[in-house]
Symmetry: C3
Subunit: 137 residues, 3 copies
Amino acid sequence: MELKPGRFFLIRVPSGSELISYIKKCAEDLGISVGIFWLIGSFRRAKIGFFMEEEGSYRTIDVNEFTEVINASGNISSIDGEPFIHAHVALGRMDGSCIGGHLIEGEVFIVEVWIQELIGGGLKRVKEGSLYLWPLE
Amino acid sequence: MELKPGRFFLIRVPSGSELISYIKKCAEDLGISVGIFWLIGSFRRAKIGFFMEEEGSYRTIDVNEFTEVINASGNISSIDGEPFIHAHVALGRMDGSCIGGHLIEGEVFIVEVWIQELIGGGLKRVKEGSLYLWPLE
Amino acid sequence: MELKPGRFFLIRVPSGSELISYIKKCAEDLGISVGIFWLIGSFRRAKIGFFMEEEGSYRTIDVNEFTEVINASGNISSIDGEPFIHAHVALGRMDGSCIGGHLIEGEVFIVEVWIQELIGGGLKRVKEGSLYLWPLE
């Protein structure tokens, strides 16, 4: 799907925010219905997921420690008219070792995010099996 | 090299595709000769490489398991007039541990990719030692 | 903060360069005061940091081996009128295992970087506790 760049935002996420809900609120407040984003920073704790294809559900991994957010990136689309934030993340521990996957939630210490709005078309996720996916073209 | 943004695409890659050849085919079909891309998703299996400077070749690592694609990013340039896809990838295993490097191939379960075409100049890779590289400026 | 895209650059970083100072020099030479960047490549060695919240300082990890730069991304802002490069990095070792965090320095073997300049506003970091941060909005 071809889209056009809309507005561009650089945002520092306040300490203590939960990242996914914060980006969702940004999308709602700024009226972004489609977009992509990237971020770096650090988390006080996080929850990540690994998709279990046979079960059709995510295995959850709790990261109960301070980590560097090496990167997270993802996209803003919609499910049933509401913004949906899909992000994956790589986290670095104190010894530099990495843990990562689908980002379920992250408690922000410091996060710097850049968001590119995309205009000229909607991007709706529709249920396919146990996942909400974009249409294939 | 200064370039200008061209078209922008958000694409869901069909399950079962091999990712690098799929992006190459996108570049050919859409007529993208220079571009950059990012993606998240999951792979059923993958093959990554680690460059051995002394040997001048890649050591290959087979990832024969389902992984979350934490991120992959790269660029579209050309070698001998044909699109060349250079991508690196970080993969997350079931326990959240990460494996990554140069992406040789990945069998897609689900991948969401965004591609920014760049116009106003070609980007040709030329052989230097054992690698195909962009010119230094 | 809403900004507008300015110029866009694709740059191959010369072998042997220290990456952070190279990007800083690019920002100075090209007159980029705000921007974002992404890169892939490989390092001959690197130094990464993990922020110790209680100490208010970075623990340093020396990566004294050749690694694939799986990705690094970050932003260009300023401290006291001088460009400041904030980047995080994920590195892949010979066995594919990953190490990552805040990028302090990296000795380039090959790096391909893309830089998006952002215009229409300054982005100044101001000291908050022991860190230099963007203003909250």
